[in-house]
């Protein structure tokens, strides 16, 4: 290998295997190609600016007077998709056990510290994190539960509530997500969390490290030697040094034993620990491969003979551990898992690391089945899974080609073991994301100041940044490790839930075309109107298309207007003039023109600060005019509140209507 080839290998070391072909999932890219992408303007400058601000001001997480371990001080909220789809209400009802429990905890002292963002208050497509927060009076500073709770559980698939919203919200807040395909799974998960928090579940106080090292595979060689081994060593030191409660056992499986049958025992089987950390390849599939939606993100095990021996042959199901490998008899209740693997948590529709082509890699964004199965298990589910959306890179644990950095992982695991809610423990991961975004900004600034551009440095920063962003929690971010005993033997299961088993299909519908894999029934339904359409419906179809276009245009306009109102309008101005030539008065460029005199002004800022200029006549306040002005201020405030409510409701309604048309 040449020196350049050597660097190329390093830059492309992502943990993903194309299970459709047996090759690595993505073609290697040159440093210059990656750097060229990184040199383009970031997709969301506002978000980057916010990350930099947070990193520099160190104002992450919840306000300092709230303890992250106490929900009555931090608050807890749940975000559903907006709209009045009856399915959302059914999901909410299925989760009621958990919601009642959280309401009791978070709303103990202040009822508004518990929030349900549902109906018109829910998430509607296209809204940015900042617009969502500003709707409730929250700003870029630390999470203040007076406005929006610190712990936020998103309920919805990533097409309906995109990963990008989750990443952005996660900078200040502790965010998790759940999405299941049946109501039973929602109810089962809710009951599992409540049981665990009421002390009805125990797990052995054990952290198990499971790291593969497949033959001839540089990626897992790196992850086993530069991540698993040092991490296990650091955590062991912490446990033996008394930094953690006594009785913690840290177990590192020899890589030869990291086979599928071992994961069966670790994930709901006889060896299930309280906390499991895995590092392996994630199985990835080509778009259109029938296994993609079921198996993408499955954990590749030591059973895979490695790229040299197996290259160019489709990966077998025996080589990986997928959601369906967690049997109905398994009992993952109460455990927490952390998976370092490509697509371990989910898959976006488009390649997150390809700025220029933005090619589609899946028919729609989706969560991986393994975490869904672990959380929604009928006998009681895992409490949370931390995983990666899209590819996971070795940048997560190394820098400068050969140096390792595992402190972020150590800190996160330590906090989880120290009974911090998982969302608070993930602040170290979010902090790293903000730190890397700041580094990119500083790099760009220094180049503008005359520094010689260094493609290797820029490419590295760009990849690290995107990599760090994509660690997410699947599950309630407020869960914490169950009350564990050093060698707890009891392995309770939950009482069966009794929710009617309505299957919820992934919504996966946006205003763009979405090539969702149809079921047989859907296929039939699509065929029927086409087959019967011998021009009979042309008039209806034309009208429908015209209306769809109008609805889409209105939807776009509504999104823009709401974003402008929420994001840009930092203050409300009410100005009162008088004129003795009313016919000359005109409005131009945001001001009244003509024979006018400004007599009173009120400016109300987003943070509530108010500036008032009072009208005076002959040295005294003109009370009559002041009364008139005050009436205008009241009307303006009422009007703006109503406008925001109406725009939010309009967005939700239009999106729902477009889905059925």
């Amino acid at each position: 290998m040449s020196s350049m080839d050597d660097e190329l290998t390093k830059i492309s070391a992502s943990n993903g295997i194309n299970a459709s072909t047996g090759d690595y999932f993505f073609e290697p890219e040159t440093i210059d190609e990656i750097a060229a992408r990184a040199a383009r303007p970031p997709l969301d400058q506002e978000h980057i600016d916010e990350l930099v601000e947070h990193h520099q001001s160190k104002s992450f997480a919840v306000v300092p007077w709230a303890s992250p371990k106490n929900l009555s001080e931090t608050g807890w909220g749940v975000i559903f998709p907006a709209g009045d789809d009856p399915t959302i209400r059914k999901i909410r009802d299925a989760l009621s056990e958990l919601l009642d429990h959280r309401k009791e905890q978070a709303g103990a002292n202040k009822p508004h510290y518990y929030r349900e963002f549902i109906g018109d208050d829910g998430y509607y497509p296209g809204i940015t994190k900042s617009a969502f927060l500003q709707k409730y009076g929250a700003t870029y500073s630390s999470a203040d539960p007076e406005n929006v709770p610190y712990y936020l559980l998103i309920v919805g698939d990533p097409e309906t509530i995109p990963f990008s919203f989750q990443y952005q919200l996660d900078v200040q807040y502790a965010v998790g997500r759940i999405y299941f395909e049946t109501l039973e799974e929602y109810a089962s998960y809710a009951r599992s969390v409540v049981m665990a928090e009421k002390g009805m579940v125990t797990r052995p106080r054990r952290l198990s490290f499971f790291g593969t090292r497949n033959n001839d595979d540089p990626s897992t060689l790196l992850s086993s030697t530069m991540l698993i081994s040092p991490l296990a060593e650091e955590i062991t030191k912490l446990t033996s040094g008394g930094a953690l409660a006594a009785g913690w056992q840290v177990e590192t499986l020899p890589y030869e034993e990291t086979k599928k049958e071992r994961l069966v025992r670790l994930m709901g089987g006889a060896d299930t620990p309280a906390l499991l950390f895995t590092a392996s390849h994630g199985a990835a599939f080509n778009q259109g491969d029938p296994r993609q939606l079921k198996h993408q993100g499955a954990l590749m095990c030591q059973d895979w003979p490695g790229p040299k021996e197996w290259r160019k042959k489709p990966i077998l199901t025996d080589h990986y551990f997928a959601g369906e490998d967690v049997s109905d008899d398994a009992n993952p209740l109460g455990m927490i898992t952390f998976h370092f693997a490509c697509f371990g948590a989910g898959t976006p529709r488009r390649d997150d690391f390809s700025y220029t082509s933005s090619r589609e890699i899946a028919p729609h964004a989706f969560l991986s089945k393994l975490p869904q199965r672990l959380l929604g298990h009928p006998k009681g589910g895992a409490l949370a899974v931390i995983g990666h959306v899209e590819r996971a890179w070795d940048y997560s644990f190394k820098f400068d080609k050969t140096k390792r950095q595992t402190q972020t992982f150590t800190s996160t695991l330590f906090q989880i073991m120290d009974q911090h809610p998982i969302g608070a423990a993930m602040e170290f991961m979010n902090g790293r994301y903000a730190e890397l975004s700041t580094a990119i900004t500083e790099y760009e600034h220094s180049v503008k100041q005359g520094k010689q551009p260094d493609n290797y440095e820029l490419a590295g920063l760009w990849m690290q940044n995107n990599d760090a962003r994509s660690y997410v929690i699947i599950g309630d971010p407020a869960v914490k490790l169950v009350g564990s005993e050093p060698s707890a033997a009891a392995r309770p299961t939950i009482e069966p839930v009794t929710v009617t088993g309505i299957v919820i299909t992934p919504s996966a519908v946006t205003t763009e075309s979405t090539p969702v894999q149809p079921t047989d029934k859907e296929e039939e339904e699509k065929i029927v109107p086409e087959a019967a359409d011998f021009g009979l419906f042309s008039s209806l179809k034309e009208s429908k298309e015209g209306i769809q276009n109008s609805l889409n245009e209105l939807l776009d306009k509504t999104k823009q207007t709401l974003s402008r109102v929420l994001s840009d309008a930092t203050s409300l101005d009410v100005l009162t003039y008088v004129s003795d030539e009313m016919e000359t008065v005109e409005y131009e460029n945001g001001k009244l023109k003509g024979a006018t005199q400004l007599r009173a002004m009120t400016r109300i800022s987003a943070d509530g600060d108010t500036i008032v200029c009072v009208p005076r006549t002959g040295g005294r306040m003109d009370t009559e005019l002041w009364q008139v002005h005050k009436d205008m201020v009241d009307q303006a405030l009422t009007h703006r509140t109503e406008m925001i409510k109406t725009l939010s409701a309009a967005l939700a309604g239009l999106v729902d209507a477009l889905k059925v048309l």
Partner: protein, 263 residues
């Protein structure tokens, strides 16, 4: 019409829209319907505004009663609109339970909706007839116009004027962010100021109710789509929703009921 004047009491003007509806919420006459205005309403604004003008009679009590009646009408419209989702939910529950009512036993809008859907679906399954025959294309045009009007209100600022006894007493510009800029004629008394305040409320409420109407038609579309038995007829949900919402708003029994409830 304003007694003693050829102008309608409430006028609305938007350069971008060719109106097919006779009025706006039964309150505002659009410029096209104004046969002989006392002066050109469009002269006081530019293309980036929507003009809302009240031409109030010189009698203060009469002027107040026009405004109060308009605001009341909008409040009732809003309440009626908000009832749409629950009424459709109730209708669906009844149908799911297999209850069979005759048309006369239902409220008229529901009866008309079921009749419309039944006829349309029956035709859709008969290959020899065109479903398009059942679809009044005018509904599409009117609904598109409604959407256009609403979209314009996001693009344009509202220019609200009040004339009292043919004297222009105030003008207010309300921009997209909700800022208010108002010019009052010098020497105005409190009761006159109150008239313009109400005109402003009437104009902004009208805009809000129009938006709520779109929202309710969209929500009704989703709910009505669940009543349809065949995917072929899914596109019918929108015109059916449009007709249903309008029928509800025009239903004299319900409006009378709400009025009585308020007394």
């Amino acid at each position: 019409m304003n007694p003693g004047s050829s102008s309608p009491v409430f006028q609305f003007y938007d350069t971008d829209i060719i109106y097919s509806q006779s009025d706006l919420m039964g309150i505002w006459k659009s410029d096209e319907q104004v046969e002989s205005v006392s002066y050109d309403i469009s002269g006081s604004q530019t293309d980036d505004s929507q003009v809302w003008r009240a031409n109030l009679p010189a009698d203060l009590n009469q002027a107040r009663s026009y405004l109060t009646a308009g605001i009341k009408k909008l409040e009732i419209s809003r309440q009626v609109l908000e009832s749409v989702p629950s009424r459709l939910d109730q209708l669906r529950e009844e149908l799911d339970r297999g209850r069979s009512f005759g048309i006369s036993e239902r409220l008229r809008p529901e009866a008309e909706l079921l009749e419309f859907l039944a006829n349309s679906e029956a035709q859709a399954t008969a290959v020899s007839f065109g479903l398009a025959d059942q679809f009044d294309s005018k509904i599409g045009d009117i609904f598109s116009e409604l959407l256009h009007r609403l979209r314009n209100s996001f693009n344009k600022y509202a220019w609200v004027e009040t004339s009292f006894g043919e004297r222009l007493i105030a003008r207010t510009a309300v921009d997209w962010s909700g800022d208010f800029h108002t010019a009052w004629t010098i020497g105005l008394d409190q009761s006159e100021a109150e008239l313009h305040s109400k005109t402003l409320r009437l104009a902004l409420k009208t805009r809000d109710v129009l938006a709520r109407m779109i929202i309710m038609i969209a929500r009704a579309t989703v709910k009505i789509s669940l009543l349809l038995s065949s995917p072929i007829t899914a596109p019918l949900a929108l015109p059916a929703a449009y007709k249903y919402v309008h029928a509800i708003m025009a239903d004299p029994e319900l409006i009378a009921f709400i009025k009585n409830e308020e007394h």
